[in-house]
Symmetry: D2
């Protein structure tokens, strides 16, 4: 595991520790190389005495699969040094986009390429992931929006033009680097939007959902984990969007369209790989409104990455992954 | 003051205690009648030994102005018993709507009538409030949305069709009655939507903003105070929405369109009568996105009610009201 | 499982769902009988369609083991109706105390009796639990204090006179009944003590630790889970308290005395059965200071109960229990 | 005002903006010099266009009074450059201690000297402050502990030996510098102790209270503001500690001993200069237990500093200061 000192890395370590079929070969950190996992992630007692190594390809060459949990833009350099025989799941954005121009609009550096997109719940995607040796895990905002919207656009139920999404995320989505605006003093008791009008996840969401224009506004919420996405689109027919979603996910172990009248809350997905959905038609505007809840470190990052790894390694897809959240 | 035991009532008491020109004549409660204010609102030390009275018209007849801070639907009965010489500011929804049918769609009981709408920042409204003896203060969601949207529709800059709003509120907006879903255990660490697809504040927001269709989704956020509203609409021209708002509020003491690049956060309005706004054009969808932040108990309830009372009593409009939030 | 609708019940359900050897036979609720587990505990998707039954002995008679997760004082009546062949783990206070007079000082109703005390980490207790058919699981404050203090008193290192404990708990410790002082609006952003000077858990803590006089002050903290206990006592010698604790728990899977210089934080135990400890000598007063952190629903309630059940059923003691917390 | 960019500086600016007799002459920052107050403290709209100056003695020489809100150890250098005619209130620790050796045990650099101690509620201290041109404001932990304990020791009611204090503070007490352990992700949902066994505020607390040995354990709590201190001491007689405190503070405008049965909560002091106290005798141990609540930025820092400034400038002691908290 590369990049084990961040929040996604910490959750990956926790999941791997409880996974019946995975074994931790090596965990690397950058500034934290040389520290024990216990000191960097006090909650991961299972690996408390394991020392974080430096990120060196040699140390990784012998393993079956590598998780890359690095800041956006840093995965490509590491991936380039890994032999084809080593499977790789990248939690970063580097290999998600098909469109190099879209990459360049939002990220520094060149577009690194395009890997198999790691959202098994998209039609046909599960099989592609199982056959791939390189998978780009979905971003957290993209998971929450795509699960809510993609089946509706695919079914011709929602208009791909003029989709509006407002999504609020817990603070771990912003990473572990010490920044003033992420201090508890600044965040507790406050909601604040960021990157309004131009967010780097828009191209990924459009690519994954089929939306053609998208207004996406992210909000920082005073909680450590969780994304609640409110996704609205104009209907293109009379279908009940909740029923369309219910049919689309009937066999999915981790995506739950709630019973009528129950709406998602992020806490119910805390620590799990679950996504909770509900949908309705707004009586005044007639728009479709879908709300989805995930744990941004769970289905939005670490747990989803393990789900992809399970598929790539031929393991049961649900192995080591919680469907039940830790609540309250 | 009628209904002094709830959260809006508590904030009204606090503001009145520090107000240079207002004096508390009597405070009434319902279940809490007979208790001291100190035991019901431990933060209001100024009135700690004042005992809450029963709500009886006789006790109120001699005062200059009455604040009604009652649950929706309970103001009309009390108001009917007050002489015309007593000015009244109602913090409830009873007298906000012009359209009786809209009232009946969302509230039980008959429509009680329509009072002067208590949002001084709407064009011409300040003068109407100053001349009125009955004012219906604006609802908290309506304040946050109307300040963001009304000038844009009025200026022909935003299309009144297909407005989409997602607004998250702190828990005091849901009142002080003990309900399981409002327990700290349920709320902390969680975001959850409610009344999705059909919210009772939609008619008020449409009436106040001029929007013709409105998708409004409210979200409960893990914080006690604050509303962050994300308001999106299609543009009807090339005007910069931030500049339109800046011009509209240039002389307003409590509405602040932030400098370019700065976006509102709810904590900055905590405990104050301020509203913070910012706007942009979304690069992908071309939609106008306005974000507004208020304190739902401040500009959204108690402080706004005092602003209206100041106007009605011929006092300086800003008397006793904070423009600066208590942060962090 | 009896009393499945509360917070401890919800966490028990979650743990049972992921337990390799336990199977849910029946879950009962009181007011919630007839509801699905999915509607009562939205996070427990594994049992989402299971309907809560009424609490009737007949329904429980055939099972191997019953968990009682009822309000204090209600376990005895149910337990009396269960045959001896059914093993019982009680999460309530009913059967913890040896001293009937101590019970009567703090609880209404008669003392129901004394069961085997369910804290496996006490010397010799693990074997007693394994042999018992009735076990009274330890209270959450008692777990956090006892793990910190009992080995020091037993080793003659800490004076059992004049022990001072201040322990702060998350809100789930106060239960799921809707009470005004537990509303999110009241709790977020606030710390408040309660039952100062006379707390009902004092007799249990004295019985379990050997303390002879104890000042115990509980504090309600703005978080859903977790107890942080600061335990101070006068030393009776020169021993390093951290070393004494380290030796006492060297072989314990769930109790971790942290490396020197690292202090517990409650989040690191979230969702797990772990307890984290650290100790030092205060330089000014010379007092021993031990700080312990647990999840009040984990090692403080549900996970501990499962640990006891594992022992009673001859299962691996750690089966189905997390040692790693879900953090952040 | 020197050091206006931190949290105490921000609260000072807010209080000064609403103060009837104070006027802001100049505000200086360090790294933030050149920025507007609006960008550094978005909540302080009153001074939104004021630009933070560099900290240069020339700019300060003409003012009546300077507030120093700098990190501990940095006040002395600035103070040395101010003429005697300029009154100074220091919010830092530099000039609080009488004992140079105690300073050296906990702080780097030499002891700078001893100024008049800025806690007006200590007997005789109000007059000394009014006559002083240099005042060292009390530290936040010291305020909360001293108000609870000093009258009891002075009255011979509490034994000054073996005092035990556990005090939990909101995160603003740790300052605004970006540090990983203060990130919202780390703090929300967690309690953690720090500097256990040797805290730098112990000498100040002993000096101010008369305690002779003191075990002081600070805890970081998941909230931005507030200190809740639990102070225990052995009684030296039969006096009711609550009555002793009630008598001591009968005429104090900002210190409130609550009615019997009501215990302090930090939220009730939020944004104010109030301190709330309650006391009892623990039934098991016989120890005195006093709990005090303050806002660490209010009575613990900025508001207290203004209270001292009011006295030094011959203004009404309560001018510009709130006795009522902003809650919830």
């Amino acid at each position: 595991m590369v990049g084990a000192s961040g929040y996604a890395g910490g959750d990956l370590l926790r999941i791997v520790a409880g996974h019946p079929h995975l074994e931790l070969a090596v965990a690397t950190g950058h500034a934290q190389a040389g520290s024990t996992i216990g000191s960097v992630h006090p909650h991961v007692r299972s690996f408390r005495d394991v020392v974080l190594a430096k990120t060196e390809p040699a140390a990784l060459a012998g393993v079956d699969l590598v998780f890359l949990a690095l800041p956006h833009g840093q995965s490509a350099a590491v991936a380039a040094q890994l032999p084809e025989s080593v499977k790789v799941v990248d939690l970063g954005a580097d290999f998600r986009l098909k469109d190099a121009a879209a990459w360049s609009r939002y990220y520094p550096g060149e577009h690194a390429g395009t890997w198999t997109y790691g959202l098994p719940e998209l039609p046909g995607q599960r099989e592609l992931i199982a056959a791939a040796s390189r998978v780009a895990s979905t971003g957290c905002y993209a998971v929450s929006t795509t699960l809510a919207l993609a089946p509706l656009i695919a079914a011709g139920v929602a208009d791909p033009e003029d989709v509006v999404v407002v999504a609020a995320s817990g603070t771990t989505g912003a990473g572990r680097a010490a920044k003033q605006h992420l201090l508890a003093s600044e965040v507790i008791g406050s909601l604040s939007p960021y990157k309004v009008g131009a967010h780097q996840h828009v191209p990924e969401i459009k690519q994954a959902t089929g939306a053609r224009t998208l207004s996406f506004t992210p909000v920082l919420a005073p909680m450590p984990r969780g994304i609640l996405a409110t996704v609205t689109a104009r209907p293109t027919g009379d279908a009940d969007p909740a029923e369309v979603l219910r049919a689309a996910y009937a066999d999915e172990p981790f995506v739950h369209v709630l019973p009528p009248g129950e709406w998602p809350r992020t806490s119910a997905t805390f620590g799990s790989n679950a996504a909770h959905l509900q949908a309705t038609i707004d009586v005044d505007s007639g728009r479709i409104v879908v709300v989805s809840a995930i744990d941004n470190l769970g289905k939005g990052a670490a747990a989803q990455a393990v789900q992809n790894a399970n598929l790539m390694l031929g393991l049961p897809e649900t192995a080591g992954l919680a469907v039940d959240g830790v609540a309250p």
